[in-house]
Each structure stands twice: as structure tokens, then as C-alpha cells.
């Protein structure tokens, strides 16, 4: 599939840079402690860890829904500390998120849900129609374009959420358990989407419990345990990447 729109605003350095970041919700027990993380442009990482380890929390820092309790966070080369709300909105337009609970808008059709980031960015409607249609076909929802989320199956909703996250061809893609409700065939197809975007220059982070999925791709793992983040090598050796994408 082709992504034929103008590139995002370019920037220098890492897509994401966390410097000794802490996060705690109640001010006491930290969910994340002293996390250092640099995601270079055009990188791909899995994010693993037990249920409740803090994967979604870490991602929510990256999509600017939460602020670090301590430490600094740079996104697209810009420090987000003290940034205005409009500035944050601008940064958010340059990333795409697959939420663990999808967060689709029930009153919009699948098509309009996927089109939302484009329309907010005031992309011409002709481009919107073409891109959204193509993408929905790719994720296997050609039939469900006009369906509203409450009438979609769990796996169909998840695919709409993925389409919405990538439609804007963002420089940073954050996917939280994006294949938990689809079967393996579809899961591999969806991963191919992320891999293609990664190859085109986006940085991708996929949080998942699905070890069999992780073991099929030669990407490094960010592992969370006890609030600490460690970088683990790929489960699959890099040599075999050509056989996958």
C-alpha cells in the first residue's frame, strides 16, 4: 500500500528521549522509576512485561496523556515540559496511538473514525477518502466502512483503531496490545503494516503479551519489571528479517 502524502515536519535526533523519568499515580509507589529511553528515528521495539508492569503507563507518557513525576521527556526533539496545550496538540498530531481499549468514537462510522486525524489536520477530503478507503481494505474492513463501532466485533474494532493510528503516517507509532482480539493470520498482516511504516522511517513501539508474536520478528524488546526498563535482544535473530516483512 502506498502512503502518498507530504512528509511530517522533519526534526533532529531521537524521536523519543526519556531522561531518568519517574511516574507514580498516588505519589507513593512508583510505576516507573528512573527510566532512560532513546528511540531513534525509524526504530522498532516491542514493549513487554507482566500485566500491571506499566507498559500502558509508559506509552501514555509518550502520547502526552500523562506527565512524568520526575525527569524529562523529549518528543520529536522538543522538550514537552511546560509546553502549551496547543503545542501539545501539535505534537500529538505527529504520532499515532492504538489504545489498549481502542477508544473509537461510537457516533462516527469506521470510515469517519479512521479519517479523524486527517480531518483534524485539515487534509483535503479527496486525499482523506482515498487513504482511508485503502487502509480499511488492507485491514480487511472493506465491508464495514459505514458501520459504527457498537456494531463491530471486537477484532474489527481493534483493526479500526490500528487504521486510525497509522492513517496519518505518523513519525511515532505506539501500539498497546494491538492484536489481542484477532487471530494469528490477521495479527501478522497488521504487524506487516507497522513494519512497513517502520521501514519508511517511523519509530514503532508495540506493547504486547503475545510471546509467539514477539518471537516471529527480529526486533529488540523493552522489558518492564518492578518499574525498571531494560533493553533485551530480539527473540528472533536479525538475519531472518527478509523472510518476514
Amino acid at each position: 500500500m502506498a502512503f502518498n502524502r507530504k512528509k511530517n515536519k522533519p526534526f533532529e535526533g531521537d524521536t523519543v528521549a526519556l531522561d531518568t523519568v519517574d511516574l507514580s499515580y498516588d505519589g507513593a509507589t512508583p510505576v516507573l522509576s528512573a527510566v532512560n529511553l532513546a528511540l531513534p528515528q525509524s526504530s522498532f521495539h516491542f514493549l513487554t512485561g507482566a500485566s500491571g508492569a506499566g507498559k500502558s503507563s509508559l506509552l501514555s507518557l509518550l502520547y502526552l496523556a500523562k506527565r512524568p513525576t520526575a525527569g524529562s521527556l523529549k518528543l520529536f526533539g522538543e522538550d514537552v515540559t511546560g509546553a502549551s496545550r496547543n503545542k501539545l496538540a501539535g505534537l500529538r498530531r505527529r504520532l499515532g496511538v492504538v489504545f489498549q481499549d481502542y477508544r473509537l468514537l461510537d457516533h462516527l462510522s469506521a470510515f469517519d473514525n479512521v479519517a479523524l486525524p486527517l480531518r483534524i489536520a485539515r487534509v483535503p477530503e479527496a486525499v482523506v477518502t482515498q487513504d482511508v478507503t485503502e487502509l480499511l481494505k488492507w485491514v480487511g474492513l472493506a465491508e464495514q466502512m459505514d458501520a459504527h463501532p457498537p456494531t463491530l466485533s471486537g477484532g474489527q474494532k481493534q483493526r479500526v483503531a490500528i487504521a486510525r493510528a497509522v492513517v496519518n503516517r505518523p513519525k511515532l507509532i505506539l501500539a498497546d496490545e494491538p492484536t489481542g482480539n484477532v487471530d494469528d493470520t490477521i495479527a501478522v498482516r497488521l504487524m506487516a503494516l507497522f513494519v512497513e511504516l517502520h521501514k519508511l522511517g517511523s519509530s514503532v513501539v508495540v506493547a504486547t503479551h503475545n510471546e509467539s508474536l514477539v518471537s516471529r520478528f527480529p526486533f529488540p524488546r523493552l522489558h518492564l519489571d518492578g518499574g525498571r526498563l531494560t533493553l533485551l535482544p530480539p527473540l528472533k535473530p536479525a538475519a531472518s528479517i527478509l523472510g518476514e516483512g
Binding site: R85, A89, G90, R92, R93, R103, L105, P117, I120, R164
Partner: protein
């Protein structure tokens, strides 16, 4: 296709927005009634003032009070008339015909044959030139006819004026309450909408929408609903005013004279939907902006 203007918040048809519309209808209806009462009492006061300010009633005691000199008084009346006709402050002067005096006294003395023979005081109506003081004229009258009584209607006007002013004040206060109620309604309805759409708003934020885009939608919605409600309120007011006017006509016109209302009043009424709309828009915008600041 404009995204922010139509489709991204489902606020057009939710309960809160219909609610704003009909409540604004009721409020504008009541405000229009209150404004009318206020304008009417204002007009009434002006009417009374106009018909009374700059006028005097001179009363020359009844001709037959002293049985021995039956022709004294016409001379006094003539003297008063003579003085007033050449007085520089006087615009118009005329003796009230006896028939009118009898009519004035009718509520007190009845209208039987007996009354028509009563020795009544002679009355002289005097109109002064605008802006002149009553004192000079009064002095001239007293000099010409020491027994005359001069009444400038102030006591009576003050008495009724107090009442009318009280009614007008209550009407104004009611309008103030209504404006406050409107603002509060919009705030509450907007908050209800915000609660209902919290998740939607959060998603919009997360895909990059700005606060202004979102607040603007709520504000535009409030503007539209309140204006529409206001127009409905006026539509309800028109026939109601007709019915009230009909009822009022059954009441004596001396109690409720048929005074016209100033053009400013009708302009005020016409502006009510717009005022309601703008008030609602402002309230919605402020409420949403403040709420959004606490969100993602």
C-alpha cells in the same frame, strides 16, 4: 467538509441541548412578559406625569357658601381667569364646566337630582409652559382670589407612582433572575454534556484537536439552541400579550389607560433571543475552556 462544525461531537441531538432550547424558550417568554410589565409601568408613569406635570387645578369655593352674597364668587373666578390669561408662564387656562365637576364628584355624592342642585366649587384647569415653576402662578392666583385652593396633583402622583415603580422594579428584578437562571442553565447543561462526552473529548484531544476547536463547538451549539429557544419564547409571548391586552380591556381604562409602549421596548424584545444566544455562547465557552484545562 468542515470537521469542526458538524460531526465530531454528538451534541446536536442530546438531551442537554434540547433542554437548553426549551428552557430558554420559557425564560425568554417570562423575560418578555417582565419587560412588558416594566415598560408598561414606565409608560404609565410617563403618561400620568405628562398629563399632570405643568398643570394646576384651581378651586374657587362654592358660590352659595355665604347665603347673603350670592354673586361673590363668579367675580373671584373671573379674577382668576383674568390674571392667568395674561400671565407669562401660563400656556392655557379654562374653567371646568359644571357638568364635569359633577361627574368628578359622582363617586362621592351620587348622581341624583339632588346633586345637580348642590353648591359646587368652581374649578379652573391651568396648563403651564414647559419648565416653569408653579410658585409664580400660585402667588398670582392667591392675590386675585385669596379663598382659592391650588392643587398641583403631586400627592396623588407620588402615591400611585410609588406603586407603579414598585411593580416595575419587581419586573426588572425578575429579568435579572431570569438572566442568571439562563446563565446557570447553560453552565449546567454544558457540564452535563461535558460529562456525557468526556470520553469523546479525550479521544479528540489525543488525536490532536485543540481546546478552541472543542469549546467552539459547544459554544456554537449553545448559541444556536438558545437563539432558537428565544425565538420560540417570543412566538409564545405574542399571543399571550394579546390575551392579556384583551383581559386588560375589560378593566376600566382609568385604572389601566391604553398607553403605547416605546419603540425601545419592542427593540429590547426583538433582541432577547440574540441576548440569550450570546449569553449562552459565552457561558458555554467559558465552562468548556475551564473544564478542558483539567483534562488530558
Amino acid at each position: 467538509m468542515a470537521l469542526f462544525g458538524r460531526t465530531d461531537l454528538p451534541i446536536q441531538k442530546n438531551a442537554a441541548s434540547r433542554f437548553i432550547q426549551w428552557l430558554v424558550m420559557v425564560l425568554v417568554f417570562m423575560a418578555a412578559i417582565a419587560a412588558t410589565v416594566n415598560a408598561y409601568t414606565g409608560s404609565l408613569l410617563a403618561h400620568w406625569n405628562r398629563s399632570v406635570t405643568g398643570t394646576l387645578t384651581v378651586q374657587v369655593p362654592a358660590p352659595m357658601e355665604k347665603p347673603g352674597k350670592p354673586n361673590d364668587v363668579p367675580k373671584d373666578v373671573a379674577a382668576v381667569l383674568g390674571v392667568l390669561k395674561i400671565h407669562p408662564d401660563v400656556l392655557r387656562v379654562e374653567a371646568v364646566p359644571r357638568a364635569k365637576v359633577v361627574a368628578l364628584l359622582e363617586p362621592w355624592l351620587g348622581s341624583g337630582e339632588a346633586v345637580s342642585d348642590l353648591p359646587l366649587p368652581a374649578l379652573v384647569d391651568v396648563a403651564l409652559k414647559p419648565g416653569t415653576d408653579t410658585r409664580g402662578v400660585t402667588d398670582a392666583i392667591m392675590k386675585a382670589a385669596p379663598t382659592a385652593l391650588v392643587d398641583d396633583h403631586r400627592v396623588w402622583l407620588n402615591r400611585v407612582g410609588n406603586l407603579a415603580e414598585g411593580v416595575g422594579m419587581i419586573a426588572l428584578a425578575l429579568m435579572g433572575i431570569i438572566a442568571a437562571a439562563l446563565g446557570l442553565t447553560v453552565i449546567f447543561a454544558t457540564r452535563a454534556s461535558l460529562a456525557e462526552f468526556r470520553d469523546v473529548i479525550e479521544v479528540l484531544h489525543l488525536v490532536g484537536a485543540r481546546d478552541d476547536d472543542i469549546a467552539g463547538q459547544f459554544a456554537r451549539r449553545a448559541l444556536g439552541q438558545a437563539t432558537a429557544g428565544g425565538l420560540l419564547g417570543l412566538a409564545l409571548y405574542a399571543p399571550t400579550l394579546g390575551v392579556i391586552a384583551l383581559l386588560a380591556r375589560r378593566v376600566d381604562t382609568s385604572v389601566l389607560p391604553n398607553v403605547g409602549l416605546p419603540i425601545a421596548h419592542w427593540a429590547l424584545l426583538a433582541s432577547l433571543p440574540i441576548v440569550a444566544g450570546v449569553l449562552a455562547m459565552g457561558a458555554a465557552h467559558v465552562t468548556v475552556r475551564r473544564a478542558l484545562r483539567t483534562m488530558v
